[in-house]
């Protein structure tokens, strides 16, 4: 009798229980699915492809080749050139993406209303221009025959510079254009962080006898350090990627591969020569390399963040 009464209520409870245990999974399902489809699946697919040879044609056979894609890439001078260039992009971008915006943010902090708006417009305009449009404009500006810049150099009596065709200069031209596009974003982030510093701290330092420079060195920079590290981190991780559109539009990696970087050859392997195995192997190398970098930079950022209360 007791069993007959208890069993329906027990099953109802079980159903309620199972429904409740599913609920949290349902809540996170949209995000989890997005991650799965757009991040983890491509990641594992790339890992799988990096051990195979395939030309991306649906009918073509996919052949397992073991580590040979990796071995081939490491043996390829173009890969090492791209890796070295990636380093140049990252290091070259740091002054433009961090140091210049830092100086601009600190020195324009005290600007009054009208000047602040003018400087904001100047700084932020590059940020909102589409990269391909910006690249086309820069191609005109840097043109050796008709470009504004060479026109100015000529009028000053200086021989025209082959900004985009000289292998020694082209990479710096791309670095500059990428940085020019980035300054607005970095300045925005640093200005916000700088404005967030408790003004009483600066006043206390003034009372303590600190000079303008000492206030920047001893108060502002340490308190901005976590933001600076954040910018260093994203510039390091994404800087070379941001230059991709300019490389494609302006130099296609040339001249003589002097402006290519790891993202560009990755694309080049995959979509120009259709060797998806190589492309995936390069992507995995990139993923691991930048993963290690990101981890150490995050640790640093944690250590240097101070909470002003």
């Amino acid at each position: 009798m007791t069993a007959a009464f208890s069993s329906p209520s027990q099953s109802a409870r079980r159903m309620r229980h199972s429904r409740r245990s599913i609920a949290p999974w349902l809540y996170i399902a949209p995000a989890a699915l997005t991650f799965l489809v757009w991040i983890y699946w491509p990641l594992f697919d790339a890992l799988w492809l990096s051990f195979h040879q395939w030309n991306m044609l649906p009918r073509a056979p996919v052949k397992f080749v073991g580590w040979s894609n990796y071995a081939n890439i490491f043996a390829l001078p173009k890969f090492w050139q791209a890796l070295r260039n990636t380093g140049i992009y990252v290091i070259g971008l740091l002054p433009l993406a961090v140091i210049v915006p830092l100086a601009v943010a600190i020195y324009t902090n005290d600007l009054s209303g009208r000047f602040r708006n003018v400087y904001r417009a100047i700084i932020f305009v590059p940020m909102i221009i589409a990269p391909v449009v910006a690249a086309s404009v820069w191609r005109w500006v840097l043109d050796p025959d008709y470009g504004v810049l060479n026109g100015l150099l000529k009028s000053a009596g200086i021989a025209p510079i082959q900004f985009l065709t000289d292998p020694d200069i082209a990479i710096w031209a791309i670095v500059f254009i990428t940085g020019w596009k980035l300054i607005g974003f970095s300045t925005l982030i640093l200005s916000a962080a700088n404005a967030n510093i408790n003004p009483a701290l600066v006043e206390a330092a003034r009372m303590d006898g600190a000079s303008r420079w000492e206030i920047i060195r001893d108060i502002r920079l340490p308190l901005l350090s976590s933001t600076i590290l954040f910018l260093v981190m994203i510039t390091t991780l994404l800087g070379a990627q941001w230059s991709f559109s300019y490389i494609v539009v302006l130099t296609q990696g040339g001249p003589l591969g002097s402006t290519t970087n790891i993202f560009h050859i990755l694309w080049d392997f995959g979509f120009s020569s259709m060797s998806v195995g190589w492309s995936s192997a390069a992507a995995i190398i990139l993923f691991l390399g930048f993963g290690v970098l990101a981890f150490s930079l995050m640790r640093l950022a944690d250590r240097y963040s101070f909470h002003d209360n």
Binding site: A200, E203, A205, R206, M207, D208, G209, I219, P222
Partner: protein, 386 residues
């Protein structure tokens, strides 16, 4: 130790004047408290002295030297901020030592002085901690340490106790007073808390609307407030203020309460002039017998050491301290008596009447013991027709 002279000190923002010509002298070693409600300009005045705000007009002299355009660090002032303004990325040791570091003092000297200051403020055990790892009171002491270590001529305190809990505030108040006694540095302390103001000050400056309302020792300001503003601002519960009018050149009668008259003991404006009568709650004599103004107790506030009754009689409201030995209860009818000696009289603009002794006709002894209920009796007493 330094002395300060402020003459006609003004401050305006975009043409709007917020401090209107402050004149005062602060003596060497004096502990001055500037007190006033929010927005009265007290913090602005302090920041002008510190050099954190430009001076729009007038002159600031420290030890006889004009400091109007001198950098904050060169004025010989140290400041304790309301939120302490401790550098969050530095340890207590680095915080206290920072003024010495930027002054390029040798490291060994910095260490010695920082440790000496830390010992005075009981911070020795916390020297290697960051501000985030300290309690409110400890942070407050670090802020004081950073001010003391420079051995400044003038200490400026900008509401330094307002972020502390009640008990700690009392402790720190005593500590600040003790410290001042030992260091004897000229100190200017800004607060909106009148208890802090009364307990800390050698001299009080009460400010209102960017102007000085009164300067004096705490006892003077409390006993003889210069205006209705000072009268109502200093003292808790606030002084009772009643609208009244002169009955003749010596007597005043309350509005809304026709049967109460008092004598000023000095010459007043002629009959019919509006005046304000003030009496502190502790001076109101309250009793259960049938003498005085009949009023009803609306509310009794228990303060532990004392009790305050808020009484009303028609439109007239009056707070009174209750004697401990009599049991009062809410809604009870009581009788209020205002001893004439405890009465403050203010004119229509709210300024205190200046007692003119020459006009005193010798009746003040009588005024002292008198309170009057019943206008006829009072008139009879005062006009001598009794």
């Amino acid at each position: 130790m330094a002395h300060l002279n402020l003459s006609g000190l003004k401050k305006s923002y975009d043409g709007k004047q917020v401090v209107h010509g402050i004149d005062m002298e602060i003596l060497e070693g004096e502990f001055i408290v500037i007190v006033g409600p929010s927005g009265c300009g007290k913090s602005t005045l302090l920041r002008m002295i510190a050099g954190l705000e430009d001076i729009s007009g007038g002159e600031l002299l420290i030890d006889g030297q004009c400091m109007n355009d001198v950098e904050p660090s060169q004025r010989g002032c140290a400041m304790v901020f309301q939120n302490y303004a401790l550098y969050p990325h530095m340890t207590v040791r680095q915080n206290i030592g920072y003024p010495l570091k930027v002054a390029r003092i040798p490291k060994a000297d910095i260490q010695r002085r920082v440790e000496a200051v830390a010992a005075t403020l009981a911070l020795t055990d916390y020297l290697d901690r960051r501000p985030a790892q300290l309690s409110g009171g400890q942070r407050q002491r670090v802020a004081m340490g950073r001010a003391i270590v420079r051995e400044p001529g003038v200490f400026l305190f900008d509401e330094p106790l307002s972020n502390l809990d009640a008990k700690l505030r009392v402790d720190m108040r005593i500590e600040i007073r003790r410290l001042h006694r030992r260091l004897k540095a000229t100190s200017i302390f800004v607060t909106h808390d009148q208890v802090e103001a009364m307990t800390l000050a050698d001299r009080l400056i009460v400010m209102n609307g960017g102007r000085i309302a009164q300067i004096g020792t705490p006892a003077e300001v409390y006993a003889r407030p210069a205006s209705t503003f000072v009268a109502s601002f200093m003292g808790a519960p606030a002084m009772n203020l009643f609208e009244a009018a002169t009955l003749n050149e010596r007597c005043v009668k309350l509005k809304n309460c026709e049967d109460w008259v008092t004598e000023a003991g000095f010459r007043l404006p002629p009959a019919g002039h509006g005046v304000t009568v003030g009496i502190r709650p502790e001076d109101v004599a309250i009793s259960l017998n049938g003498k005085g103004l009949a009023a009803r107790i609306e509310l009794i506030e228990e303060l532990g050491g004392s009790r305050v009754a808020y009484c009303s009689r028609g439109a007239l409201a009056c707070a009174a301290m209750l004697p401990r030995d009599i049991d009062f209860s809410e809604d009870q009818t009581v009788f209020l008596n205002f001893p004439a000696s405890a009465i403050h009289l203010f004119d229509q603009e709210g300024a205190r009447f200046q007692e003119d002794k020459s006009n005193n006709d010798g009746n003040s002894a009588q005024a002292d013991k008198s309170f009057y209920t019943g206008v006829k009796d009072a008139l009879a007493v005062m006009t001598g027709t009794e």
